[in-house]
Symmetry: C2
DNA sequence: CGAATTGTTGATTCCCCTCAAACTGGGTGG
DNA sequence: CCACCCAGTTTGAGGGGAATCAACAATTCG
């Protein structure tokens, strides 16, 4: 019986899935949150200074992951959250027919692995789309720390809740938008996240293939490509392979006219 | 800028939305978890006995909600989770064009309102599809209690994580399944949840309209109706308005062939 | 009872998937 | 060096599945 049928119904049984070793090396380096360049982007966001000092008490291990390497695999035992320090990841899971379903892209400061808490094993795989580095946050230790610290606990709850909201939005997108609206929403989301991270909001390099975008947005790679071309003809953007320059952000915004909560 | 664009990027700013009063009355009755008939279905699921006693320390208020009434509204200040004691709810949000997007149905024992934690206001509305009763769990108190109790905190984290998994599955459904697969998955999910609650797994009354099912599954009400008829012709089930009897569960299972994680 | 809501079914349209072919840039090896 | 391959992308042609528009039946409700 699949997770669709069981997600809410059989709450706490651990799921038994084949174990596969993760391929990325563990780095001996350890970081303090208070000296991290990510600052407010990451876990400590919204955390009081005193709580960040609590986070410092145990230093998080770092790990480098090269392009194409797997950080963790669907079914792996869940031990760590991973905060992206640099690079981009895709989160994916396998369907019965062997196709892969991409269900997220993670950039600097974003937390991966939240879906592992429910059953103690990762429900998705994380694969680096470019050379990347992550901060491994041991769930057990974070839990213990949060148990004595209401502030940290709230931050953690909010991060989980934000993930729920993110998926709400994606569900709305998949359930009620056409191809142009989906791609416009995707590009504007990307643009916004890049801007927050200090990169250009209008000119950027896509880290993911057409097929990965298509999987994420629930359409085929051909339709993604065609929609890019259509946007270019409408003078909304310029695109050459993975290089994108947004010309008419307002036009793109109008192109996805739904209010996504 | 919509939540799609901001979900992960601007983490903790409270969102300002119009306030609307909730319409359901607050009941003076108060319940202890340890004496609740829901038992393992609800929040205490997976909680040690000693922790349930902790939950008993503050008694949760109950509230009756009649068919069609709103328990909480999108934009309302987030103060409570709600555990469904009886009845069925739909969770929905409004799109820019006035249509409503249904993003979940909640039955006995399930927790509503998890999406409110992120920004301190509810991101969706909850509406009773039949006369219902809920248990109002004050978030602040639950937080405080969990701060001194690692077990309870874990239960809470798992509930959030399960919600994330549920949405993963729905995203996969919306992104990669056709109408028949979607409806089959929906019916099998419903069947399973009813069975767990002691009802018949093969014969039940749908609490929601074709339009609500369609909104939830990302298809039109006409397509929902047609797909029901098609299943009936295939002798997979019998359907008369909202009364459903599953005849060939295996056949339905084959009808949605995807492995949803 | 008429009006409104909900559900079923039919006819038509159209968006996107599928299949297919061609192009690009990069890497490899003879 | 160029021929070759390969993965990724673009573009075209055609078909199918679901949306749209519409009519009608069944039920509920004021």
């Amino acid at each position: 019986m699949s997770a669709v049928l069981e997600a809410l119904a059989s709450p706490l049984e651990p799921r038994v899935l084949p174990q596969a070793p993760t391929s990325a090396p563990v780095m001996p380096l350890r970081m303090r949150c208070s000296s991290c360049h990510l600052g407010g982007l990451c876990l400590p966001c919204g955390t009081a200074v005193s709580d960040v000092q609590r986070l410092d008490e145990f230093r998080f291990g770092r790990r480098k992951v090269k392009t194409g390497q797997t950080l963790y695999r669907e079914g792996d035992r869940f031990q760590f959250f991973y905060a992206v320090r640099s690079g981009t990841f895709k989160s994916k899971l396998m369907l019965a027919d062997g196709r892969e379903q991409v269900n997220g892209f993670c950039m600097t400061g974003e937390i991966m692995g939240l879906d592992g808490v429910a059953y103690g094993s990762h429900a998705s795989s994380a694969i680096a789309l470019e050379d990347a580095e992550v901060c491994a946050i041991p769930y057990v230790q974070l839990s213990e720390l949060a148990a004595g610290n209401a502030g940290l606990q709230q931050v953690f709850a909010r991060i989980m809740s934000r993930e729920i909201l993110r998926e709400h939005s994606l569900m709305t997108l998949l359930g009620s938008m056409n191809a142009e609206e989906r791609l416009a929403a995707f590009l504007l989301n990307l643009s916004h996240r890049l801007k927050v991270r200090g990169y250009s909001a209008v000119e950027f390099h896509l880290r993911m293939s057409r097929a990965e975008i298509g999987s994420y947005l629930g359409m085929t790679l051909e339709t993604v490509s065609r929609t890019f071309s259509a946007f270019q003809q409408l003078r909304l953007l310029e695109v050459d392979k993975r290089h994108v320059r947004l010309i008419d952000v307002d036009g793109l915004t109008r192109a996805f006219k739904m209010r996504l909560n």
